[in-house]
Amino acid sequence: MANTAHADHAHDHHDHKPHGLKRWLYATNHKDIGTMYLVFACIMFFGGGAMALVIRAELFQPGLQFVDPSFFNSMTTMHALLMIFGGVMPAWTGLANWMVPMQVGAPDMALPRLNNFSFWLLPFAFTLLLGTLFVPGGAPAGGWTLYPPLVLQGGDSFPFTIFAIHLMGISSILGAINVVVTILNMRAPGMGLLQMPLFCWTWLITAYLLIAVMPVLAGAVTMLLTDHFFGTTFFTASGGGDPVMFQHIFWFFGHPEVYILILPAFGVVSEIIPTFSRKPLFGYESMVYATASIAFLSFIVWAHHMFTVGMPLAGQLFFMLSTMLIAIPTGVKVFNWCATMWKGSISFETPMLFALAFLFLFTIGGFSGLMLAIAPADFQYHDTYFVVAHFHYVLVPGAVFSIMAGVYYWLPKWCGRMYNERLGKAHFWLSVIGVNVLFFPQHFLGLAGMPRRIPDYSTQFADWNMVSSIGAFIFGFSQLLFVAAIWNAVRSGEKAPQRPWEGATGLDWELPTPAPYHSWETPPAANILPKPGH
């Protein structure tokens, strides 16, 4: 919270650290809260992953094998909610908690007690949500998009789901406000905005997006609640309401949400690729402007999710062309990452492997996104497995791989120990093979016409579904190696040097390894601040 400038430095090292349960319950230290976010996200990833395996086990062959259709629909809905709101978003907030203060030269987040509160909302939110698995009528089964009137016909789970989403939203907003205030107000003296690492920049823009769109989600789910319990008819056609308007409102939140999930990934990859290419990032400023452009465009493309509701031709054209525009700043980014590697002295440690996989596979997801942006083609692809393949390519090898890349990259700084490179590489290769075997065949299934969210299917889809399910189990179980790699590093990894990666630059790497419990109590010296535009 402050700079303490001391005249004598004889006894500078002090590591007062609370112990026991209270350390975590009343945590205000950014590293403790970051760790809690990351552990929570990991648990949610495994919970959501287990649900995905239920889905893929059921779809292993045609016919109903293990679960009834209603439970299958609950699994698809819960899998999405857990992965998005419980997995990816908290993981990014965890990484921001750990890294933003270290990277901007601040001793902690700007509002540490708010930070504690925003984390502790999450376990309550997800206990509520997961508790719906045991209520009459089962967990929500109308899809994570909560479209009315289907969602209004759910069982007792409905109000719990809405309340849980509200809590998740509050947690996200508080986290975003904290990140924004930290980045804007807690930077070390002399550090300008264009001296910040890309991870901070992408998080700043992400936080702005979160602040802009979260009230829309909160309003939308509140209107669902009042339609269900208080006799309003915002989205009920029989009372003069408009169910299609819910889709507009939801996707006005939902599309920026996609970028909320992916922009910090751009930041992580923009840190890792220069480090392992041993070259500065190519086009730092263009990266910042490209990120801001993507964020801006994310506000004006929402209806590409709903071309098939029947919108005017002018609307279709506008949303088709504005969606295609996103390819330009995204292309700038991909070009810059490639240009950074060009003639670099590249080495392929685990974080770099995950970053490279991100680069290739996220681009595949981007290309299938361009295909979906073409309105007449989307009429064919809409609500098929092609869409499932597209967004999983964006979110799994996109967001999730970059989270893993970030964890491998910064783990030595966090715990002072190296992970086992062989274990990391085994995790990488099994993941990258698993994820492609899992999701690539879903393009074929979608193009052949297999609808999404069905527990049974025509026999013509049997072969690729079997392949996809095999990939799912390879990918799912290979994540145990990730936990093993982290556990192994924390317990018995080799001692890490202060700068474990030769090419790493930035304030975070100027701190001792492991990073002290309270970092940058004394502001960093001007000569170690990153150069503008670096």
Binding site: M1, A2, N3, T4, A5, H6, A7, D8, A10, H11, H14, H16, K17, P18, K22, L25, Y26, T28, N29, G105, A106, P107, D108, A110, L111, P112, R113, L114, I173, I177, N178, V180, V181, L184, N185, M186, R187, A188, P189, M191, Y208, I211, A212, V213, P215, V216, A218, G219, A220, T222, M223, T226, F234, M245, I249, F252, Y517, H518, E521, P523
Partner: protein, 165 residues
């Protein structure tokens, strides 16, 4: 400052100017209320109060964070006295304790999330230090001050190379 004095200066990080904060807050309001207003104009007004609440929270967060920009405490420890100077935008006040009789104490705070208050006290007088620090920084500062000031009826030798940092 006497040659053997030690000076500790406490000040919060504050890289945001008031004008910058206003611009940022205004841009957030335009985005948030613009969207909420558009939706409300179509009859879906419940988005508006959420936007208002969120902007209120953001405003409070910015104000709280900016409020500390003028806060500064300078602790000057010489062989004879401990002088604490409090500065904010409008005021400057200092308190002096005799070093030999002064003691550094950690007192219980009001809540588990604000567990301690760091005070220097002597002769029935007490002055709080580092209220804007986080808990770990406060405990670290307390340990440091205890070494420099010593317990009551104790004056440990000061580091010889004093000076302003």
């Amino acid at each position: 400052m006497p040659p053997s004095a030690t000076r500790i200066e406490l000040a919060p990080n504050c890289s945001l100017s008031i004008a910058g904060a206003r611009w940022f807050f205004a841009s957030c309001c335009v985005a948030s209320f613009g969207v909420a207003g558009l939706v409300a104009s179509q009859g879906f007004w419940p988005v508006l109060p959420f936007a208002g609440l969120e902007m209120l929270l953001l405003g409070i967060a910015l104000k709280l964070s900016l409020a500390r920009r003028h806060q500064k405490q300078i602790i000057l420890i010489s062989t004879e006295v401990v002088e604490i100077e409090d500065r904010d935008a409008a005021h400057r006040a200092s308190v002096v304790f005799p070093r030999h009789w002064a003691q550094v104490r950690i007192r219980a705070g009001g809540s588990p999330l604000h567990p301690s208050r760091l005070v220097i006290e002597s002769h029935g007088r007490r002055h709080e230090i580092g209220s804007f620090l986080n808990e770990q920084e406060r405990l670290g500062l307390a340990a440091r001050l205890k070494r420099l000031i010593g317990r009551i009826d104790e004056s440990p030798p000061l580091p010889t190379l004093g000076g302003q940092a």
